[in-house]
């Protein structure tokens, strides 16, 4: 029997959740025995060509590229998990939702006290993904099967969730894995 496939990605996040995933330490050897990694920043594969069993998404959606990646994940992943507070709630990036988009851009590229921008323009190359009006958690864009809370979720929480999904049942996190202080 082929090994189950896992894909991961970071949208508008800080990669902290991925770092936390790597914190499972020597259990990563066990994990590699159990699963095959498809698209992931860890192996630098850039797109999912075939359906995978589990998709882990870090980060919320702040721009159109995030949305396309997320939609691709939803299409290809049998089970999709929002990982960390940015994916589940919008997290820190969503603080910009309190300020109109144009003001954000002006402050960042034109008006901010430390800005040196001789062009006097907001970067507008077509290659740059357009920002969404508001930063959104993943489940406002696609259906999400599970949420793994934490900023970041601990390595043990990752381990508990992934092993439960591989065994084919819903992850249940004991209190200690959701206790952050």
């Amino acid at each position: 029997m082929a090994k189950p496939k896992v894909a991961t990605t970071s949208l508008c996040g800080c990669f902290g959740c991925h770092m936390s995933l790597l914190d499972i330490d020597e259990r990563i050897l066990e994990l590699v025995d159990l699963v095959e990694f498809d698209r992931s920043p860890i192996n630098d594969i850039k797109s999912i060509e075939h359906p995978v069993d589990i998709g882990l998404v870090e980060g919320g959606c702040a721009n159109e590229d995030n949305v396309r990646v997320l939609q691709e994940f939803r299409r290809q992943c049998k089970v999709l998990v929002s990982v960390g507070d940015c994916a589940t709630n919008g997290g820190l990036p969503s603080l910009r939702n309190l300020v109109p988009l144009e003001e954000c851009l002006r402050e960042a590229y034109l008006d901010g006290p430390t800005v040196h921008n001789d062009s006097g323009r907001i970067p507008d190359d077509e290659e740059i993904p357009l920002l969404l009006s508001r930063v959104k958690p993943c489940h406002e864009i696609v259906e999400v099967d599970y949420h793994l809370p934490g900023c970041p979720p601990s390595a043990d929480a990752f381990w508990a969730a992934i092993t439960a999904l591989l065994e084919g049942h819903a992850p249940e996190l004991p209190y200690l894995l959701c206790k952050y202080d």
Partner: protein
């Protein structure tokens, strides 16, 4: 000004004996005299009553009919409950805004007239309705609004508003000299208990012929249960309140605030004698010397009439000393006015309010039966319960218990409103099915019926066979009918808005939880919800209901829970509709890139603002800050 204020404060405080437990009366009177209670007035009141400024400010800020900021001498309060909105309250509000030249929440530049909104004023059968100070304006139309505003503007201060505004009187005692109100009773079905023939004093005479213990035995034998909705056996409550040497009190809860309820309004108008008679009998049964009728501020127009009935009863020897020839029994009743707070309908909050405090519920136990008003044993019952008790003493327990169903004896007065042809009050025997009731009020096109007001249950057509009684659909009397054109989730959201407004704020689950609940419900309504959100609504509802301190929080999630149970399709349809549009979500960024901020194509910028719906001022601001730059490429 300050001399006027100090004099008013001193005079009014003295009128209430500088008694801190009468603080609610004091601040009501001062608010009326000075059109607000500012910081200095609060200091002066605190000094006179030996309270702290915080005590006084706590009370003033709690009740919606009191104000710390100056308002007009005339305050127009528009009822904004669900039924009024269905009947066009929003159009009425804009007409008032237009005619007065101010927005809701503002006062006219001459400082005379304020316009504001308020929770249900007990006129759902004749919505849309409003209050102008104490005067009720039912069945408002746009032309009626213009007439009222014209009259208010043309007449000088101090005009009697009732004579000015009311040009025709409603039926029955609404036309009484001391009421003179346009309110209709709309009694659609009169039953034997509440609207049967009665003779003043007959029930009391029969009661006084028995011993107090025998009176309680009769009430117990009738199996009468509390009509406010709780259904606690009245005789048992009286028995618990009885005994011991302490002073004790009889309280009548006429703070009918559950949106869609207006039955007590009709009883107080047409059956005031019966209410007072029931209170007096309760006083005799439990050995109390004082009764208090707590009248909601919205029904202030009935106060003079009720005082008049009390005077008549004193003259007839039915109140006062030596009642029924028994030297030992004396009993009198005073009326305590409320000041606009739904939560005061909860009995311990009502008692707090009567003691001149914020209407915050107490922890139970101890129950009012042992520690109530002024910490003395107190019997609190609903208006309708006292009416029933009086009739039971007059006609006998078997007569009463032969009506209704086994566990819910007697009749129930229902207030029916909404999408039916015959809104009004119906006295029906307990055990009537929802379907039969819809037949009576001609609401056969109903797609949902809310039984028991916002804190009750939204009943779907498949359950119209269920019956109204304490063991099935218990209700204090509110029945709202909705046809298939109504958006039930919008109604649930409106109900939550009501609870958020009326939460006393003491405990977090209720203060914060209800806001979170509404936010999530509104997200689903907007088509942004996921199945997770439905689970969240259920979890949060359970938390609020389990951890709140009083009945408000225990029942406030009901609009969500009962629509989730009875109308799951209403939610699913919106969840399915939740298709995400990337095009829409990046429109703003595209507009910024293509023009505005980078100073390109003014026409594009202009149309951009229109399509995103940015309002004019915002657009000007953005254009003004445009950076002139060269066109790209």
């Amino acid at each position: 000004m300050s001399a006027v204020r100090d004099e008013a404060v001193h005079e009014i405080c003295a009128r209430f004996g500088n008694d801190a437990t009468r603080l609610l009366d004091v601040v009501r009177a001062i608010n009326q005299r000075l059109d607000c209670i500012d910081g200095e007035a609060m200091e002066a009141i605190a000094e006179a009553l030996h309270l702290t400024r915080a005590d006084v400010e706590g009370v003033v800020s709690f009740y919606s009919f009191l104000s710390t900021r100056p308002h007009g001498n005339i305050v127009i309060r528009l009822c904004d409950d669900v039924i009024d909105k269905m009947k066009g309250a929003d159009e009425i509000a804009s007409e008032f805004e237009h005619a007065l030249g101010i927005r809701v929440g503002e006062t006219t530049p001459d400082g005379r007239i304020s316009l504001t909104t308020t929770s249900c004023i007990g006129m759902s059968d004749q919505a849309p309705a409003a209050l102008v100070n104490d005067v009720v304006l039912p069945r408002l139309s746009l032309s009626e609004v213009r007439r009222v505003v014209r009259l208010l503007q043309a007449h000088p201060d101090g005009t009697d508003l009732r004579s000015l505004l009311v040009d025709s009187y409603g039926g029955g005692n609404n036309a009484h000299d001391l009421v003179r109100s346009a309110v209709d009773n709309s009694i659609r079905q009169a039953g034997p208990v509440l609207f049967g023939h009665m003779e003043r004093g007959a029930a009391l005479r029969k009661a006084l012929a028995l011993s107090p213990v025998e009176v309680i035995r009769v009430v117990k034998a009738s199996r009468l249960r509390g009509r406010g909705g709780g259904g606690f056996p009245t005789g048992v409550k009286w028995e618990h309140t009885r005994g011991g040497q302490d002073e004790r009190y009889v309280v009548c809860n006429a703070d009918e605030g559950e949106p869609g309820t207006f039955k007590d309004r009709v009883l107080l108008t047409e059956r005031a004698d019966l209410v007072f008679e029931g209170m007096t009998i309760a006083g005799y049964a439990i050995g109390a010397g004082h009764g208090v009728l707590y009248l909601r501020a919205e029904y202030a127009y009935l106060r003079e009439y009720l005082e008049h009935v009390l005077r008549e009863r004193r003259q007839a020897g039915l109140l006062g000393t030596g009642l029924g020839g028994r030297k030992a029994f004396e009993f009198d009743i005073r009326i305590q006015m409320g000041a606009g707070a739904y939560i005061c309908g909860e009995e311990t909050a009502l008692i707090e309010s009567m003691e001149g405090k914020r209407g915050q519920p107490r922890l139970k136990p101890p129950f009012p039966a042992s520690h109530g008003y002024l910490d003395k044993p107190t019997c609190v019952n609903n208006v309708e319960t006292y009416c029933c008790a009086a009739r039971i003493l007059e006609q006998g327990a078997p007569w009463f218990s032969a009506l209704g169903s086994k566990a819910s004896t007697g009749t129930k007065l229902l207030s029916v409103s909404g999408d039916c042809k015959r809104p009004g009050v119906y006295e029906v025997p307990f055990g009537i099915s929802v379907r039969e009731l819809l037949g009576l009020c001609d609401g056969t096109g109903a797609a949902a019926v809310q039984i028991g007001g916002p804190s009750g249950r939204m009943v779907p057509p498949s359950e119209f066979g269920r019956t109204i009684c304490f063991d099935d659909l218990a209700t204090g009397g509110a029945v709202m009918v909705f046809d298939q054109h109504r958006d039930l989730l919008e109604i649930a959201s409106e109900f939550l808005r009501f609870f958020i407004h009326e939460s006393c704020g003491y405990c977090t689950p209720c203060r914060v939880g209800n806001s979170l609940l509404k936010e999530r419900l509104d997200r689903i309504r907007a088509g942004h919800g996921s199945t997770d959100d439905v689970g969240y609504l259920r979890d949060l509802s359970a938390t609020i209901a389990a951890t709140s301190r009083c009945g408000l929080g225990w029942t406030s999630p009901n609009p969500v829970l009962s629509t989730l149970d009875g109308f799951p399709g209403q939610y699913e349809r919106r969840l399915r509709d939740a298709s995400y549009s990337l095009e829409e979500d990046t429109r703003e960024a595209r507009l910024i890139r293509n023009g505005r901020a980078n100073g390109r194509g003014s026409s594009e910028g202009g149309s951009a603002a229109e399509t995103t719906g940015v309002d004019g001022s915002d657009r000007e601001r953005r254009e003004a800050t445009d950076v002139s730059g060269e066109a790209k490429r």
